[in-house]
């Protein structure tokens, strides 16, 4: 029998902990969940509490997202990257105009920095995405290459052509299914390639 097993027990336990943590973070807030993740522009706020300002110690917290997208442009893997920018000595960081100016100044430099960091995550993301895609592609190719089962025996009707029509429909259906299988195999191959998406600034917290 052609069967195998995979041992993901310990990974599943880790995953349960991660998911429990994610659910706890989500449930910890009051009010309805936030749905504006895809709005344009980073969200900027000021640290109001003393302890938070103390923790920031004159630095601006920026949270970025780096991601990989497939050939269709769908975000396949992503990661949040926090960066602190020292702004001690900058004037009036709690006013909107200086914050805008500051972000304009640093965004380009930070983006190029963000695009290079997290090499381990990048390696993991591409490896796992490639494994996922190659398993799918291999299966789709095998499906497309599989000979189609067709009835070998066929008895044409003596007085009507219903069975011939049914047979013709079956043959046409088979051809169409083959065409679809080939198309799916090539679509899977095409969408298997991943490309990195430039860093995206999501959140800014000023001291």
């Amino acid at each position: 029998m052609n069967i195998t097993t995979v041992d993901l027990k310990s990974d599943a336990v880790v995953e349960v902990r991660r998911l429990a943590c994610a659910r706890a973070i989500e449930a910890s807030g009051r009010g309805r969940p936030w749905t504006g993740a895809d709005r344009d522009g980073a969200l900027v706020s000021y640290a109001r509490r003393g302890r938070l300002r103390q923790a920031l110690a004159g630095r601006v917290l920026t949270i970025w997202r780096i991601a990989y997208e497939d050939a269709c442009g769908r975000r396949i893997e992503s990661r949040l990257v926090p960066l602190l920018v020292d702004v001690r000595g900058q004037s009036r960081p709690r006013r909107r105009a200086p914050v805008r100016d500051l972000l304009r100044q640093i965004e380009g430099r930070l983006r190029s920095l963000v695009d290079q960091i997290e090499p381990r995550w990048r390696a993991d993301a591409t490896t796992i995405a490639a494994a996922f895609a190659s398993a799918r592609v291999a299966r789709e190719r095998a499906v497309a290459a599989r000979p189609r089962d067709q009835r070998l025996l066929f008895q044409p009707g003596l007085f009507d052509r219903r069975s011939e029509r049914a047979r013709q429909l079956e043959i046409d259906g088979g051809r169409e299914a083959d065409r679809q299988a080939q198309a799916r195999a090539s679509a899977a191959t095409n969408s298997a390639s991943l490309s990195p998406r430039g860093g995206e600034l999501l959140l800014v917290l000023t001291p």
Partner: protein
């Protein structure tokens, strides 16, 4: 019109959207959009280019937006909770499920590219539906698949659609003949109604029909889930249909708590479902103890001593069998012997059940009408595919006849008379009645045949609900709702009707009126109440007629369980006969078992 890129902000139908994905097709593009403003914020929608106008949104610059601390915190919390490392699951976070490690493993295996064809063969009640739902939700969420077909026994369609919707937000259509006809009336002639159903839950027995299968297999199904896949293991139309659909799918999930009946060839056949190349089937089989869930199970074997008239009935049936064998001589065929053993099975189920079979046979012997037993029955009375026929009496095969029809009629008449006399006061029914009188809990009694079921309902002193293959979807739902709502309800069910049901919420007592030949069926019966969510010790009673062929069945069951155990590891559902005897005779209290 310019084709947008993913990440672009666009206006579609006067609303602002972010482009998530642009998928090229032959002469159009499917553009997936995510809403950025109420009332569509966060929702995904699809439009077709060039049929829909997509305009780039002006002012979609990345200018920072100043927000109050509360909004910022909510955004931060949402981003942090959605953060998913490579090879982890995204759908499980928002799914309405308890997080159990063993349930995540199949989805993890798929996401990491370790498998595309899986057999989920966990013990009964460990949440295979949830695991399949997770896989589907994960693949849909990643944009890897769009079309899912769930093949299930007819009675579980509603349970599947409800679970997919409630737990994973997947809106699946419960497909039957009526729905397809309704859809077809809204479509141009020649358009396959299955194409319009991206996520379909259908009965495997409906899909296998010659007039249905071509339309189903003409569609692309990227994920095919086969629930109770052991039903498609043998050489049958069901297997052919499942194989035709699964071998075209990108992902295949076979679900069965009882994949191995002790028959290695059938197990190998099950493992080949959906096979297209040398890639092996990935098997997940976890026991309750491995998964760290489930309560204790006590299985009690109750030996029943038959009355004189019951013994005489079995003796007459054996004599009829001997006469048949002597008559057929060396020409006796395997299927003739099988048909004969089915008669013995019915006798072990209930004298009433045997009497009904013999009655029908005598009627056909005396009838002058043309015999149409060999003609295939058309599914005319079951357009929706709801009905299950496995619990109906099997037809009497032509080979099962004596050359001297007068002698046969005499033998059968004597057998019928004895069976009727025995059915007036059957030992098993009395014992069952005694057992049920001792408890005020909910209980489920299983039998293989509908005739026995109806007989039981008439004979038991406790009022009972019945669940069998002849009930429509609405009737089944009503019975299950009443069983769930009535504290001391008694449910009489046939295997065919009760497969896959979740009855653990208030019930922990299962009684098997007769032993099935297949150990998987025994496990399936107990598994209706012994599953995740059960908080009390489960009690299963097997009523076995001593000094009859049922003891041989018991020995054979043990051998088959041992076979299956050697191949994939199965816990025996047979033990504890002494305690059961005491419970029936009233020597000990129920609580004694748990100690």
């Amino acid at each position: 019109m310019q084709i947008p890129r993913s990440g672009d902000l666009v206006y579609v139908r006067r609303t602002r959207w972010r482009v998530v994905e642009v998928r090229d097709h032959e002469s159009c593009q499917v553009v997936t959009l995510r809403g950025v403003a109420p009332p569509h914020a966060g929702l995904e929608r699809r439009v077709l280019l060039p049929f829909d106008a997509i305009e780039p949104a002006a002012g979609g610059s990345a200018a920072p937006r100043f927000v109050c601390a509360g909004v910022w915190r909510r955004a931060c919390r949402a981003l942090l909770s959605a953060e998913t490392p490579p090879g982890s699951l995204t759908a499980a976070r928002s799914a309405r499920i308890d997080l159990l490690a063993h349930q995540l493993e199949p989805a993890l295996a798929i996401v990491r590219g370790l498998a595309t064809r899986l057999l989920l063969a966990d013990d009964v009640g460990l949440g295979k539906t949830i695991q399949a739902g997770l896989v589907a939700a994960e693949l849909i969420g990643r944009g890897a698949i769009e079309r899912v077909l769930v093949l299930t026994p007819a009675g579980l369609r509603d349970q599947w659609t409800s679970e997919l919707s409630r737990r994973f937000g997947i809106q699946a259509a419960s497909v039957d003949g009526l729905l397809l006809r309704r859809i077809a009336t809204t479509l141009p002639i020649g358009v396959n109604p299955w194409v319009t159903l991206p996520i379909a839950v259908a009965s495997v027995d409906y899909v296998k029909r010659a007039e249905v299968l071509p339309a189903v297999s003409a569609c692309t199904w990227e994920l095919v889930v086969v629930d109770e896949a052991h039903g498609a293991a043998g050489d049958s139309d069901r297997r052919a249909a499942v194989q035709a659909l699964a071998s075209c799918a990108a992902y295949v999930l076979l679900l069965s708590a009882t994949p191995h009946s002790g028959d290695r060839a059938a197990f190998a056949s099950l493992c080949r479902l959906g096979e297209v190349d040398a890639t092996p089937l990935t098997v997940f089989r976890r026991t309750r103890s491995e998964a760290g869930v489930g309560t204790a199970r006590r299985v009690h074997l109750v030996r029943i001593h038959l009355t004189a008239s019951e013994r005489r009935m079995h003796a007459l049936l054996s004599r009829y069998g001997d006469a048949l064998r002597a008559d057929l001589g060396r020409d006796v065929r395997g299927d003739t012997l099988l048909a004969l053993s089915v008669l013995h099975k019915r006798a072990l189920s209930s004298a009433w059940s045997l009497a009904r079979s013999v009655e029908r046979r005598l009627e056909s012997l005396t009838s002058t009408a043309a015999d149409c037993g060999g003609q295939l029955a058309l599914p005319l009375g079951d357009v929706s595919g709801d009905l299950v026929r496995a619990d109906e009496p099997p037809p009497w095969p032509d080979e099962l006849r004596l050359s001297d029809s007068g002698r046969e009629r005499r033998m059968l008449a004597a057998l019928l008379e004895t069976a009727r006399a025995a059915s007036a006061s059957e030992t098993k029914v009395r014992r069952l009645d005694a057992l049920l009188r001792r408890t005020r809990e909910q209980a489920v009694v299983f039998t293989e045949y509908r005739d026995t079921l109806m007989h039981l309902q008439r004979r038991l002193t406790r009022p009972a609900l019945v669940l069998h293959g002849g009930l429509s979807r609405v009737e089944r739902s009503a019975v299950l709702a009443e069983f769930g709502a009535t504290p001391a309800a008694l449910l009489l069910a046939t295997d065919a009707a009760a497969e896959g049901l979740n009855l653990q919420a208030r019930c922990r007592l299962v009684v098997n009126l007769e032993l099935p030949w297949n150990p998987m069926r025994l496990e399936q019966r107990i598994g209706r109440v012994d599953r995740i969510g059960q908080t009390r010790t489960v009690h299963a009673f097997h009523l076995v007629a001593a000094d009859t062929r049922e003891m041989r069945i018991l020995a054979r069951l043990r051998a088959r369980i041992s076979n299956a155990g050697a191949d994939i590891g199965i816990v025996s559902p047979l033990d504890d006969e002494e305690i059961a005897r005491r419970v029936i005779t009233g020597d000990v209290s129920d609580e004694h078992h748990d100690s």
